[in-house]
Symmetry: C2
Subunit: 335 residues, 2 copies
Amino acid sequence: MALPPTRQVVQVLRYPDGIPREQDFGMDRRPLAAPTAGEVVVRNHWLSLDPCLRPLLGGRYAIPRPERGAVVPGGAVGRVVESNAEHLGVGDWVVGDTGWCDYAVMSQDVLRRVDPDLAPPSTALGVLGIPGLTAWAGMHTIGRPQPGETVLVSTAAGAVGSVAGQLARRAGCRTVGIAGLEAKCMIAREAFGFDECVSHLSPGFAEDLRAACPDGIDVYFDNVGGPVLEAALSLLRPQARVVLCGLSSQYNQSGRPPGPNLGPVIAARATLQGLVVFDHLDRFDEFTNEVAPLVRDGSVQYRESVSDGLASAPTAFIAMMSGRNLGKSLVRLAE
Amino acid sequence: MALPPTRQVVQVLRYPDGIPREQDFGMDRRPLAAPTAGEVVVRNHWLSLDPCLRPLLGGRYAIPRPERGAVVPGGAVGRVVESNAEHLGVGDWVVGDTGWCDYAVMSQDVLRRVDPDLAPPSTALGVLGIPGLTAWAGMHTIGRPQPGETVLVSTAAGAVGSVAGQLARRAGCRTVGIAGLEAKCMIAREAFGFDECVSHLSPGFAEDLRAACPDGIDVYFDNVGGPVLEAALSLLRPQARVVLCGLSSQYNQSGRPPGPNLGPVIAARATLQGLVVFDHLDRFDEFTNEVAPLVRDGSVQYRESVSDGLASAPTAFIAMMSGRNLGKSLVRLAE
């Protein structure tokens, strides 16, 4: 297959202020180099849009934010279209952090092979990818849900939350979700099996949550921080476990808002422990062996928000950051 | 010994607003009942003034706050002056929650015997009492300081913090204290062996703290919450352990101020776990066997702020809540 001489990328034009805007990103065309020894050329099929991009662009992380003009960082699933590497051949499905682009030259060392017979390759970015691993690792190492317990999950209809809730339900727990739009709450209940799901957009959110958790909360899988976390902390049962996994409520904010009161943590003797999924990459096989069959037979459900074409990525990302997506957000570049 | 027909007590007159004031308390004289079967009459020698009284009076705890007119709650050390109980005899030293009073009729079941040969009986309210146990349990179960680590302790010159810092130093750690007044910082360094101690009253507190912990913090024993906790969280090293033990920065406030940002907790994969000392009462013997010899030979130092006479208790308590005390605050009623 003849490769094009250039590749199309989305670049960072400006660092967002508040909710990202179209003009923060720009399309560009750049030369496509030939792969050197150990490298392959990947044609991307699926890009991942991750909420963590927003704080990354906001400079909230310890690592430097991408420079203006850089390719927008992000994961993708694609197929090898040219190989100069011994372990990957043309036609292989792979996943890796190519950034937002149609073609990428990548070292084989930073790509993970995807088995297309296991599940649709796009799942390598969602339920069988980093989001699924995040949920699984959080539940296994921190949440440790026990039968009969109440497990609360925020972003219940999202890529991480939906898996977290289902794993907890399979462990014999009563699961309560938190989401924004009523459509998300409905799918959380109907597709992901949450016993209840309350909207944090409701003016009576705190009361709704209390009513949904009459016996308190044993495990809280938190992806949002802020007032939702604060409401959850006030309902912790003794020895509750809180998976602090995300702070999406703050991702669009420039400053750091005041956080929740920790008094209830003391009262409940709760354990709070930060989770960073990259600590658990060595357990990918274990995770896959357990969860993949469940996805395959439908025991673990998932949803994707798909937009088409690389140029749609900014809009789709903005939609996600505005809360208008559902499940795992994806951009489809090729089938 | 002939018992007086009445006993003197300090009663709750008003619930404090802000820093407690004299007029929130009132003296009273009440009948002293004869002990029924299983009861003794205790003549108090030492009252304990505990910061947690303030939030108790503020209604912050799950238990109801004492009614107006009730004896101010608090621990005390005294001697049995009349016994109708098989396990305690006249002359025995005991410690228990008698409230603020000179004489109390108490069931033997709620008193703990104090060995006056072990250490001065007043230490049963401080370094060998609940505050010492708090520090010890927090370090043993949550902090788990390892040789070479940096351990940060707030209220470093206080009843809990001074013990926490010393235990950490004995474990081979570099210890950094936080206190208010410069006099507290000095005694934290000179008596309690903190390598450094910074004042949270300094306008440059955050920078001072950072300079004192150039390699970050492995263990933080937090007794204060609020901005001090927030500053500490920003310096956590990976796998740091934070003992959430008190929120004294908020005790005088009616509302609940916004708390610290939890982002650094995630970034550091830190474990946060509430500590409530009452979970550890069954380990009193183990604790005593370990720490008492260290107090006795001076390896573990302590300080007491002593005021004389029951009527001095409100003023002494107010002084403590205003930050003007040192070490364990005590009221001396008799020697």
